[in-house]
C-alpha cells in the first residue's frame, strides 16, 4: 500500500506549497473555532448520480422531530439537529439547458449544471459547462483569504476523489484530468474544463499521507521538535518580558497567548493521523461501480483525515456512476439478503424501471413488471440510505469534534427520480456543524409543488433555484460578498428561506 509512485511530499511539493521540516505546521488543524469564518470552515459535497426514490426521500412535513426522518435519512438520526432536508430545489441551470437532442431539461447533464449554475453547451463534440463549480470557487476564495491574512493556504485547494485506482483500471473512461464530459462529473475547474480527480481513495491516501507511513511515530517526532522550539520560545518571551516597560508587556503577553494556541494545536495534531483504509481491490471499474462499498468507505475516511489535518477546506466525491453494471448493494451485508440473486443491477436501467405507472418515460423498460418497478424503487431508496450510513459511520463520526463543528456536508443528486431524469426537485440534504450557524437545521424545508412521477415538465411552482443554494454555501463558508454563482441571469442571492 505504501509503495506509491508519488509520495505525499512530492505531491505537495508539486503543488508548490510544501517544504521539508514545516510538515507539521502545514498540516495543523484549523482550530480557530472562536473566529470561525473564511478559511476556517470546511465543505464536503457528496454527489449521488441518477437521483433516488423521491417517495421515501421526501419528508412528510418540515417537522422532522415529530415526523421522524424519512427512510433514506434514518441513519443520520444521531445528527437530526444538524440536518436540513431541502425538499424543493430545482436545478435552474439544468432545466434551462437546451443541448441538442435534449428536452429543456438537462437530465444527466444536470451534474455540472447543479454545481456550476451554468447551462450545458458544446465544446467541439464534448458537452461542457461554463464553470467553475462552487467547490472550486470556495477553494479559491479560501486560498485567497489565507494569503491575505498572511497564512499558508491549505495544501490542496480542493480534494476531489474519483473512483478508480489508476488510469489502467478505468474501463476506458478514467477519472483523470480533462476526461470528464458534462454528464460525468459535478466538478468543474474552469469554464469548459472539468476538474481533475485523484484516482480513487487509495491513490489519494498515497498522495496525501504516504510520508506518514511510518506514520504516527514520525508525526510525534515532528511534534516533539516543534514543541521544543515553542517551549524555548516561551522561555525567551518570559525573559524578554522582564526587561520591558510595563506598557509593552501586554503586547508580549498577546504574543505569548498566540504561542500557547500554537502549542495546543500541536497537541491535537494526532487527530490527523491517517487511518488504515485497507488495501485497494485489484480492479475498480469507474463505469461499473464495482467495490462501491470499499471505495466509499475509504474515500470518506481519507476526506475525514484530510479535513482533520487541514489538508484542504473543500472536498468532493461522486458516490456512484449512473451507468453501474454491478450489484452494488450486494457487497454490503446489511443489504445482501434483499438483493440476493439479483444479477442485473444496471443503475441506469433500473432507474427507468422506477416509475410506478410508466407513461412516456419508460422507454425500453416499458415492459417492466410491477415487481421490477418495486425492486428498482427499493434499490434506489436503499442506495441513498446506504450512503447516509456510510456518511455517518465513516465520516461524521470519524472526524474530530472541531472539524465536525465547523463543517458543512451536502449530499445531493443532479436529478430527482432517475426514471424521469428530471432536474426539478433534486434531493439535497445538508449537514451543518454546531458552530456554523448559517442554515436552520433540525427541520425540512418544503418548497414548490411536485408530482414525483411527472415533474420533468416545466413547473409553475418549481420551488427554489439551485443557484441560490450555491450562493448560500459560499456565505455559509464565510464568503458573504459572493452574490451569484454561475450565470448571473439566473437567480442570485442566498437561499434566505433556509437561513437560521
Amino acid at each position: 500500500m505504501r509503495s506509491g509512485r508519488w509520495s505525499r511530499r512530492d505531491f505537495l511539493r508539486a503543488s508548490g506549497v510544501f517544504s521539508g521540516a514545516a510538515l507539521l505546521s502545514g498540516l495543523m488543524p484549523k482550530l480557530r473555532a472562536s473566529a470561525a469564518g473564511p478559511g476556517t470552515r470546511q465543505l464536503f459535497f457528496v454527489g449521488c448520480s441518477q437521483g433516488t426514490d423521491m417517495v421515501t426521500w421526501r419528508p412528510e412535513s418540515s417537522d422532522l422531530v415529530t415526523d421522524g426522518l424519512p427512510y433514506q435519512h434514518e441513519p443520520l438520526q444521531d445528527y437530526l439537529q444538524n440536518i436540513a432536508i431541502l425538499d424543493g430545489i430545482y436545478s435552474i441551470s439544468a432545466v434551462q439547458s437546451d443541448s441538442e437532442g435534449m428536452p429543456p431539461n438537462g437530465g444527466h447533464e444536470g451534474k455540472g449544471a447543479l454545481l456550476t449554475g451554468t447551462t450545458v453547451r458544446y465544446a467541439g463534440d464534448l458537452l461542457v459547462y461554463n464553470g467553475p463549480s462552487v467547490d472550486e470557487i470556495i477553494g479559491r476564495r479560501v486560498e485567497q483569504h489565507c494569503l491575505e491574512m498572511g497564512e499558508i493556504p491549505p495544501p490542496m485547494r480542493t480534494l476531489r476523489i474519483g473512483r478508480a485506482k489508476g488510469p489502467m483500471d478505468s474501463d476506458n473512461a478514467p477519472d483523470v484530468p480533462g476526461s470528464n464530459g458534462a454528464w460525468q462529473t459535478f466538478f468543474w475547474q474552469d469554464p469548459l474544463v472539468s476538474a481533475p480527480l485523484l484516482w480513487g481513495p487509495w491513490f489519494a491516501y498515497e498522495a496525501l499521507f504516504a510520508s506518514f507511513g511510518v506514520g504516527e511515530d514520525e508525526l510525534r517526532r515532528l511534534r516533539t521538535k516543534q514543541a521544543s522550539v515553542l517551549d524555548a520560545l516561551t522561555g525567551e518571551l518570559g525573559r524578554v518580558r522582564g526587561e520591558l516597560v510595563t506598557e509593552d508587556k501586554d503586547r508580549l503577553d498577546a504574543h505569548l497567548e498566540g504561542i500557547r494556541e500554537l502549542e495546543n494545536k500541536l497537541d491535537t495534531i494526532i487527530e490527523c493521523t491517517p487511518p488504515d483504509i485497507g488495501t485497494s481491490p485489484d480492479h475498480i471499474g469507474t463505469w461499473s461501480n464495482t467495490h462501491m462499498n470499499e471505495v466509499v468507505r475509504a474515500t470518506f475516511q481519507v476526506v475525514a483525515t484530510a479535513f482533520a489535518c487541514g489538508v484542504t477546506n473543500v472536498a468532493g466525491f461522486d458516490v456512484r456512476r449512473q451507468e453501474g453494471r454491478g450489484a452494488e448493494l450486494q457487497e454490503d451485508p446489511e443489504y445482501a439478503a434483499t438483493y440476493e440473486g439479483v444479477t442485473n443491477m444496471d443503475l441506469h436501467g433500473q432507474a427507468h424501471n422506477m416509475p410506478v405507472s410508466c407513461g412516456a418515460n419508460c422507454g425500453s423498460n416499458a415492459d417492466a413488471t410491477a415487481e421490477d418497478r418495486a425492486l428498482a424503487r427499493q434499490f434506489y431508496a436503499d442506495l441513498w440510505r446506504w450512503t447516509s450510513t456510510r456518511l455517518k459511520e465513516n465520516f461524521l463520526d470519524a472526524v474530530p469534534d472541531f472539524v465536525r463543528d465547523n463543517m458543512i456536508v451536502v449530499h445531493a443528486s443532479e436529478m430527482s427520480e432517475g426514471g424521469t431524469h428530471s432536474n426539478y426537485n433534486v434531493p439535497v440534504t445538508i449537514f451543518q456543524g454546531d458552530d456554523v450557524g448559517y442554515f436552520e437545521t433540525g427541520r425540512a424545508f418544503k418548497w414548490g409543488a411536485f408530482d414525483v412521477f411527472e415533474n420533468f415538465r416545466p413547473h409553475d411552482d418549481p420551488g427554489q433555484p439551485s443557484t441560490k443554494l450555491l450562493v448560500s454555501l459560499c456565505h455559509a463558508m464565510g464568503f458573504e460578498d459572493i452574490e451569484s454563482v454561475g450565470d448571473p441571469a439566473f437567480a442570485s442571492g442566498p437561499l434566505t428561506e433556509a437561513m437560521a
Binding site: 517544504s19 521539508g20 521540516a21 514545516a22 507539521l24 505546521s25 502545514g26 495543523m28 480557530r32 473566529a35 491575505e148 491574512m149 498572511g150 497564512e151 499558508i152 511515530d217 510525534r220 517526532r221 516533539t224 521538535k225 516543534q226 514543541a227 521544543s228 522550539v229 515553542l230 524555548a232 520560545l233 522561555g235 525567551e236 518571551l237 524578554v240 526587561e243 520591558l244 516597560v245 510595563t246 506598557e247 509593552d248 501586554d250 503586547r251 508580549l252 498577546a254 504574543h255 497567548e257 498566540g258 504561542i259 494556541e261 500554537l262 494545536k265
Partner: protein, 571 residues
C-alpha cells in the same frame, strides 16, 4: 506648454466651505471631514486644539500629560518589524544562503494610515504565520549553509544572532540557543542529526521576539511616561527605517561612542546613512505608499481584461517600464539634491525607448541607471505625478478617473480628509454621448456630492490630458472635443494641466506641510497627534529653509525629540 500658477483670492473660503459641506445630509460626517489635526483645518484658520473633537491633549494612544511642557510627542507602542525589515535582516544575516527562503510566508503588515506598520499586537494567526515562516526558512537555510558539525553550527549561531537580535546577545542567551542543538528530552527517534539541531536553533531565532520586535526600553526621564532612546536603540531605529537592516558594526560603534545621544549627532548620522545607496529602499518604500503605486498592477490587469483593452494596445508592453521609470526617477532625485520641487516638477524622467515612444517624448542621453533620460519640456508632463505608474494607479474607467486622481491628490498629497461616500448614495447613470469631464461634472453636481467633489473634481480634471493608459492627448479621441484640464486647487491656485499641477503643488504650503506630515508618519510609524505639531512645524520649517530638500526633512524628523524619544502608550 508653460507652467504658471495663479492665485484665487477666494481660495481659503472655498476650502473651508467645501470641507464643512462634504456630503451634507449625513450626520456628523461632514463636520469630521477636517479633524483637529488636519493641516487643512489649520489652513482654514482653525487652530489645533480648538476643534469640536479636541480632547484637550489626550489622544487615542494615551499621552504623557495633559499639558505639553517640555518634550511633547504622541505615544508609540512597541512594534513588530515591518515585513520588509524582516526580509532585509534575514538577507543581511544569511546573504546568498537566504535565496531559497520562502519570504512570501512573512505575514503582511497592518497599516497606520498610508504606510505599512505593525502597530497592533500580534494575534494567534500572526504568531502562527511567523512560526510557519521560521520553520520553513530554517529548513531551507540549514540545507543552504550545510554545516557538517556542531562547531559550524555554533559559529553560525554566534555570527547571526547579533544581526537578528539587533544587538550583541548575552552569553547566557547564546547558550540557550546552542542548547537547541541537542535532541529534546522527549525525543524518541533513532537519530538526531546536525541538521535537526541547526534547524531548531534557526527556527527559534527566526521567531524570537528579539528578532521580530523593535524593543525600545529607553532611559528614564523626569517624565515617568517619557523615555529617551539609548544610543543603541537609536541605531536600531535608524537602521531599520533607512536601510531595512540590523545596525551594522560601524553604526553600533557610533552608538557606543555616544554619537547618537543628541540631536546634532543623530542628524549627522542620518545624513550619512541617507548618502548610502542602501537608503534607496527606504525612499522607494515611502513613495510607493505616498504615491499609491502599488495599485498600478491591479489597474493594468483590469484594463487588460476589460472591454476597452483594445483602446490601450501599447500598454502591456510598457507597464514594467513605467514602474521602472518611477523607481529610477525617485532614486535619481533622492540621490541628487532630493528636491521636492524636482520631484513634482522635473521636466525629465527616465525610461526605455519603448516608453519614450509610448509617451511620444524625445530621449536624451543614456543615463548611468541604464535608462534614457526622457525630455518632457514640451510634452505636457512634469514630475512624478505625470508618470504612467502614478497616473495609472489612480485610474479607472474614463468617466471616473477624475474621482480617483483627485482623491489621491487631496488625501495623500494635500492631507485633506475626505469621508467615504454615503452608504445610501445612488450613483447617477453615466450620461451618454458626453465627454468624460462634462459627464462626471453632471454626475456629481448634486448638493449631496458637491461638498467633496468641489475639491476632488478640479484636482482630478488637472490630469485629464492623461488617459487610463498614461498617454497624453489634447482632444478626447472618441469625441474629438478639446480636453479642458484646468481647475483650481483647494488652496486657490488656478492650474491648467498636470505639469502645472506638479509645479503648483511643490510650492504649495499645504502640500509641503502634508509632505512633512507624511514623512513623520512613515518614519515614526504612527499618526501624529496634536502634541506633535511642534515637530511637524519644525520639519516644515526645515523643508523650507533647505529650499525643499527632502533629506533635510527626514533628518529633521528623525533627529527631533519625537524621533529620539518614546512616549509610553498608557501613560
Amino acid at each position: 506648454m508653460t507652467m504658471t500658477t495663479r492665485t484665487n483670492p477666494l481660495a481659503p473660503c472655498l476650502l473651508a466651505a467645501s470641507l464643512v459641506g462634504c456630503y451634507q445630509g449625513v450626520d456628523g460626517v461632514g463636520a469630521s471631514g477636517a479633524s483637529e489635526t488636519d493641516p487643512a483645518a489649520d489652513a482654514s484658520g482653525d487652530d489645533a486644539g480648538d476643534g469640536p473633537n479636541d480632547d484637550g491633549g489626550q489622544d487615542d494612544d494615551g499621552g504623557s500629560s495633559d499639558t505639553c511642557d517640555g518634550v511633547c510627542t504622541g505615544a508609540s507602542p512597541m512594534q513588530l518589524l515591518r515585513r520588509n525589515q524582516v526580509i532585509g535582516i534575514v538577507r543581511q544575516a544569511f546573504g546568498a544562503d537566504a535565496d531559497e527562503v520562502p519570504f512570501n510566508l512573512v505575514p503582511a503588515d497592518t497599516s497606520s494610515g498610508l504606510f505599512a506598520s505593525n502597530h497592533l499586537p500580534a494575534d494567534a494567526t500572526r504568531v502562527e504565520a511567523y512560526h510557519t515562516f521560521a520553520e520553513r526558512a530554517a529548513a531551507e537555510l540549514v540545507q543552504s549553509i550545510g554545516c557538517a558539525d556542531e562547531a559550524c553550527v555554533e559559529e553560525e549561531t554566534r555570527r547571526v544572532l547579533p544581526i537578528l537580535f539587533k544587538r550583541a546577545p548575552l552569553e547566557d542567551e547564546i547558550s540557550v540557543y546552542l542548547g537547541m542543538m541537542s535532541a529534546p528530552a522527549e525525543w524518541d527517534g533513532e537519530s538526531w542529526t546536525i541538521d535537526d539541531g541547526f534547524s531548531q536553533v534557526l527556527s527559534l531565532a527566526l521567531q524570537s521576539p528579539q528578532f521580530l520586535y523593535r524593543i525600545e526600553v529607553g532611559e528614564e526621564t523626569d517624565d515617568p511616561n517619557l523615555r529617551r532612546l539609548t544610543g543603541h536603540e537609536m541605531a536600531v531605529r535608524l537602521s531599520l527605517l533607512l536601510w531595512n537592516e540590523s545596525p551594522s558594526p560601524e553604526l553600533r560603534a557610533l552608538a557606543e561612542e555616544g554619537r547618537l545621544d543628541d540631536e546634532e549627532g543623530v542628524a549627522q548620522v542620518v545624513r550619512s546613512m541617507l548618502d548610502d545607496p542602501r537608503a534607496d529602499v527606504m525612499a522607494l518604500d515611502f513613495f510607493e505608499a505616498y504615491l499609491g503605486t502599488s495599485h498600478f498592477g491591479d489597474h493594468v490587469r483590469y484594463l487588460e481584461g476589460s472591454a476597452v483593452a483594445e483602446d490601450y494596445p501599447g500598454l502591456p508592453a510598457v507597464t514594467s517600464d513605467m514602474v521602472a521609470e518611477t523607481e529610477a526617477f525617485i532614486t535619481h532625485v533622492m540621490r541628487n539634491g532630493a528636491s521636492m520641487r524636482e520631484l513634482f516638477a522635473a521636466d525629465y524622467s527616465f525610461g526605455s525607448e519603448a516608453l519614450a515612444a509610448y509617451y511620444d517624448v524625445p530621449t536624451a542621453e543614456l543615463h548611468d541607471n541604464g535608462m534614457y533620460r526622457l525630455e518632457l519640456s514640451d510634452a505636457g508632463r512634469a514630475g512624478v505625478l505625470s508618470q504612467g505608474a502614478v497616473v495609472g494607479a489612480h485610474t479607472t474607467v474614463e468617466v471616473y478617473r477624475a474621482a480617483h486622481r483627485g482623491t489621491f491628490v487631496a488625501r495623500n498629497v494635500m492631507c485633506i480628509e475626505l469621508p467615504p461616500p454615503p452608504a445610501d448614495i445612488v450613483i447617477p447613470e453615466i450620461p451618454v454621448g458626453v465627454p468624460p469631464r462634462e459627464a462626471f461634472e453632471q454626475m456629481t453636481d448634486s448638493a449631496t456630492c458637491a461638498g467633496c467633489h468641489d475639491i476632488i473634481n478640479p484636482l482630478g480634471f488637472m490630469f485629464e490630458n492623461l488617459d487610463a493608459g498614461g498617454r497624453y492627448a489634447e482632444v478626447y479621441p472618441q469625441f474629438e472635443t478639446p480636453i479642458d484640464a484646468s481647475g483650481v486647487l483647494p488652496t486657490g491656485e488656478e492650474v491648467d494641466g498636470v505639469a502645472e499641477l506638479g509645479a503648483a503643488l511643490a510650492e504649495n504650503e499645504q502640500t509641503q506641510r502634508c509632505f512633512a506630515r507624511r514623512w513623520f508618519e512613515y518614519a515614526l510609524e504612527r499618526t501624529p497627534t496634536d502634541r506633535d505639531e511642534v515637530y511637524l512645524e519644525a520639519a516644515y520649517a526645515q523643508l523650507q529653509a533647505s529650499d525643499l530638500d527632502m533629506r533635510a526633512l527626514i533628518v529633521s524628523v528623525l533627529s527631533s525629540e519625537a524621533g529620539r524619544m518614546r512616549v509610553l502608550p498608557s501613560g
